[in-house]
C-alpha cells in the first residue's frame, strides 16, 4: 500500500477543519447558543455581585455621642481609628519621656530590666476605681520599651524605634507595620541591652549591643518628610491583655483590660542639638485613660512605666478591627457564583453525553484531547471574564456602599486590590475547568457537580465553622481545593501583633498565589485523568 493511494482521500480542506482554531470555534458556538448556559453565567455574575453587596449593605454602624443625644447611623459614625503614615489604622499609645531633637543627632541608652503587670486572670474581677488592684506580675509577649524618634506627638505620626521586648528580643520597628529582629533573648541586670538610634537627614539607623562597645546595626529606615525638629526619648508600652486560644472553636480571642510594662534605663547619652534641656513625660494617644504610667529619674537612671501599643490594628472577626470590613467581604458572593459556574461547566460536557452529541463532536474532531482542551479554554475564558466583571463591580460598589453606611474599610494597596479581583476571577475559571474535567470523568451531572462543590466549599465551611481545631482547619486549607480562597485574603498577618489569625477571621495558612496553585494542581490532575479516560473509553 503506497501513500499515493491514500492522499486523494484527504482533501486539502481537512487540515483546516481539524485545526485547533476550528475546534475552539465549534465549542464557543456550542456555549453561546445554549440559552441555559448563558443564563447560568449571567446568574453567576448577579448572585456573586448581589450577595457581596447585601453583605456590605447589611451592616450599618450606629452610635450615640458620649453625652447622650440622638442615635446616629451610617456615615456619621464609622469606627474611628488612628491612621498611620501608611494609611492603615494603627494603635499609637505609649508613655513617652522626651526632648526635642533638632537636626541630626543620636541617643544611646542601656536597658537593664523589663517587668510588668497583667490584669486579673479572672476577667470578671474589674479593676478598682483607684487603679487595677488585682493585677499580677507578668509581661505580655510583645510588651516593649526602648528608644523612639517620632515626628511630633500626634498619634499616628511617623516614627522609628529600637526596643527590648518581653519574648521577642531586641527589635527595630518603624511606621507601625515594619519590624526587624535584633539580638535575641530577654533583658536583665546580668544581661543588659544597649540601644542606639541615630538620625541623619530622613534616615534613622538603629544599633544594638550587649556591652556598649561593640555595636551591630539592626536596620536603617527612611522616614519621608521627617520634620527638622523631632521628639526623641524613652518609651514603654504593653498591649492589652489578650489570650488567643487556637485549640477549639476555630480559635478565640479574649481581651480583658490593659497590661503595663516598666523598664529601667541607664547611661542615657545624647549627641546633636537638643534645645529643650529637660525631659518631659506624658502619654501619646489614648493610653493615658487607663491611669497607668509615669517615669522616675534619679542619678541618671530612668524608670518608665507605660501601657498601650505602637502597632497596626489587625482586621478580622474576634480581633480589634472587627467592626471594620476588608475587601474580601465584598466578594463573599464568590461562593454563590462558584456554585453556578460549576453547574454550567459540568453541563458543558455532561449534556453532550446525555444528548449523544459527544459522538458527533468526536466524529467531527477525532483528536479527543483537543476537544477537551478547547472546551476547557472556552469555559475557562468565559468564566474568567464573568468573574472579572462581577468582582470588579463588587469591589467598586461595595466600597461606595460601605462609605455610605459608615463601615470602616481597611485600606489595601492597588496591587492587593488587583490580586483580589483577578484572583476571584481566576478561582472561578480554574474551578470551572475542574468541574469540566470531573464531568468528563464521571459523565453524570449530579455526581460531578456535587463532588466539585463539596471539594471546594465544604473544607472551607468546616475550617471556618467552630468545629475543628485551628491546626486541622489549616491543613484542610492547605491540601484541599479550598486552599484557593487564600487568594482573597486582604489583610496581612503581622507577626509583631498577638491576634487571632485563623481561617475564621480571614487568615489563610498558604500565601495567596500558593493557595490558587493548589486548586490549579487539582484541576490539572483531573484534566489529565479526563483526557486519558476520554481517549480510552467509547463515547
Amino acid at each position: 500500500m503506497s501513500t499515493g493511494t491514500i492522499t486523494p482521500y484527504r482533501p486539502e480542506a481537512r487540515a483546516g477543519r481539524d485545526g485547533f482554531a476550528q475546534v475552539l470555534r465549534a465549542e464557543w458556538t456550542k456555549f453561546r447558543t445554549v440559552r441555559g448556559w448563558v443564563i447560568g453565567m449571567v446568574v453567576a455574575v448577579l448572585v456573586m455581585l448581589g450577595l457581596g453587596l447585601l453583605t456590605a449593605g447589611g451592616s450599618t454602624s450606629s452610635c450615640q455621642q458620649a453625652g447622650g443625644g440622638p442615635v446616629r447611623t451610617g456615615a456619621a459614625c464609622g469606627p474611628t481609628f488612628t491612621v498611620g503614615p501608611g494609611g492603615g489604622p494603627v494603635d499609637d499609645s505609649f508613655y513617652f519621656v522626651r526632648q526635642p531633637l533638632t537636626g541630626n543627632g543620636s541617643i544611646t541608652v542601656q536597658v537593664t530590666s523589663l517587668t510588668g503587670l497583667l490584669p486579673p486572670a479572672n476577667p470578671n474581677i474589674q479593676a478598682g476605681p483607684n487603679g487595677p488592684t488585682d493585677t499580677r506580675p507578668g509581661l505580655m509577649p510583645w510588651a516593649k520599651a526602648g528608644l523612639i524618634i517620632k515626628d511630633g506627638t500626634r498619634p499616628g505620626s511617623a516614627y522609628a524605634a529600637m526596643m527590648v521586648t518581653a519574648d521577642h528580643g531586641v527589635r527595630m520597628q518603624d511606621n507601625f507595620t515594619h519590624d526587624t529582629a535584633g539580638q535575641p533573648g530577654a533583658v536583665s541586670a546580668a544581661s543588659p541591652r544597649w540601644l542606639r538610634l541615630t538620625r541623619s537627614g530622613d534616615t534613622i539607623t538603629g544599633y544594638d549591643s550587649a556591652d556598649g562597645t561593640n555595636w551591630t546595626q539592626v536596620g536603617a529606615v527612611h522616614l519621608a518628610g521627617l520634620s527638622s525638629t523631632v521628639q526623641a526619648g524613652l518609651f514603654a508600652a504593653s498591649p492589652d491583655y489578650t489570650v488567643v486560644s487556637q485549640n477549639f472553636g476555630g480559635g478565640t480571642n479574649g481581651s480583658s483590660g490593659p497590661s503595663q510594662a516598666t523598664a529601667v534605663f541607664d547611661h542615657v547619652s545624647r549627641s546633636g542639638t537638643w534645645p529643650g534641656g529637660t525631659w518631659t513625660g506624658d502619654y501619646i494617644g489614648a493610653g493615658g485613660a487607663s491611669g497607668i504610667g509615669g517615669y522616675h529619674q534619679a542619678s541618671g537612671r530612668f524608670t518608665v512605666t507605660g501601657s498601650g501599643d505602637i502597632a497596626p490594628v489587625v482586621a478580622g472577626h474576634g480581633n480589634e478591627g472587627d467592626p471594620a470590613t476588608t475587601l474580601t467581604d465584598y466578594l463573599v458572593g464568590t461562593f454563590a457564583g462558584l456554585i453556578a459556574v460549576i453547574v454550567v461547566a459540568t453541563m458543558f460536557i455532561t449534556a453532550e453525553y446525555r444528548r449523544g452529541l459527544i459522538r458527533t463532536t468526536l466524529a467531527a474532531s477525532p483528536r479527543r484531547g483537543r476537544v477537551l482542551a478547547a472546551k476547557a479554554i472556552v469555559i475557562g475564558s468565559v468564566t474568567f471574564v464573568a468573574g472579572l466583571v462581577a468582582a470588579t463591580a463588587g469591589v467598586i460598589f461595595g466600597a461606595q456602599l460601605s462609605h455610605h453606611k459608615g463601615t470602616y474599610v481597611f485600606p489595601a494597596s492597588w496591587a492587593t486590590e488587583l490580586r483580589i479581583i483577578a484572583g476571584a476571577a481566576a478561582l472561578l475559571a480554574v474551578a470551572a475547568v475542574l468541574a469540566l474535567a470531573l464531568g468528563t470523568v464521571m459523565r453524570r451531572s449530579a455526581a460531578a457537580v456535587t463532588v466539585v462543590i463539596v471539594a471546594i466549599v465544604l473544607p472551607y465551611i468546616l475550617a471556618v465553622a467552630s468545629v475543628l481545631p485551628v491546626s486541622v482547619s489549616d491543613w484542610l486549607l492547605r491540601i484541599t481545593p479550598a486552599a484557593a480562597f487564600a487568594i482573597q485574603q486582604a489583610a496581612p498577618q503581622y507577626p509583631q501583633v498577638t491576634a487571632l489569625y485563623s481561617p475564621g477571621s480571614g487568615y489563610f495558612p498558604l500565601a495567596p498565589w500558593a493557595g490558587l496553585a493548589v486548586l490549579c494542581g487539582w484541576a490539572a490532575l483531573a484534566l489529565g485523568l479526563a483526557v486519558v479516560l476520554l481517549r480510552r473509553r467509547d463515547a
Binding site: P323, F335, R444, A446
Partner: protein, 281 residues
Amino acid sequence: MSEALSAERPGLPGALHAGWASLPNALHAEWTKLRTVTGPAWLLAATAVLTVAVSAAATAAVRCPSGIACPVDTTKLSLSGVQLGQAIVAILAVLAISGEYSTGMIRITLTAMPRRSAVLAAKAAILTGLVLAAGTIAVLGSLLAGRLILPGHGFTPARGFPLLSLGDGPVLRAAAGSVLYLALIALLSLGIATAVRDSAVAIGIVLGLLYLFPIIAGVVTDPHWHRHLEQIGPMNAGLDIQATTGLSSLPLSPWAGLGVLAAWAAGALLAGGLLLRLRDA
C-alpha cells in the same frame, strides 16, 4: 383533570382503575424503580460510609490536652460527618426524579400513574424510608466511633465528658434529630429537583441553599442579620438539633431549628408538586 379524563374511559373497569391510581401501587412502582438500578444502593451505602468516615476523622483530629478546659460539644463533633452525608443524600433525592426527566421515563411514569401528586408522594415516601435507614446506620456508626475515639483523646468521664450513649436524653435527641435531618434534606432536594427537573441545576441549588447561609452569616458583622441568617438557613437551623451544650446561646432551640428545615422541605415539595401538576412532562 387527569381523573376526569380517565373516568370517561368506558373500557376501564372501575376496580382496576382504583387499583392503578392507588398509593400502594405507586409506592410499589417507585420501590421497584429504586431497587432495580444500582445507583441508589451505592449512594445509600456511600452516605453511611462517608458520614461515619468524616465523623471519625473529625473526632480523631480533636484532642483535649490535660490542664486545659475544652469547650467541645462531643456529640456535635462526633456527628460532623452529617455535613458531608447530606450532600450524598441530596444526589440520591435529586436523581430520583431528574433521572426520569433525563431519560424520558417520566412520561411513562405519568401515563401509568396519572395522579401526579401520588407519584411525588410515593417517591417522597420511599426516599424517606431509605434515607432514614441509611441515616440511622450513619448516625449510630458516627456515635460509636466517637464513643471509641473520644476517651483516648482526653475527653474522659472524669473531666466531664461522659461516654456517648443513646440513654442520655440530649444525645438521643441529637442522634434521632440527625437522622430526621438527613430525611428532610432528601425531601428538600426532591422538591427542588421536581421543580427544576435538571439534575445539575437542582443539585447546585440544593448545595447552594445548604452551604451559602453559613458562609454569608460568617462575614456579616451586624448581629441582627447574623442571627437571622443563622435562623433561616436550612443547614444552620437544622443542625441545631445536634447541639447538646450551650443550648441557651443557640439562635433557635434544637427542635425549632429542625422545624425550619421541615418548613423549607415542605415549601420545596409544595412548589415541586404544583409545577409537576401544572406543566407538561
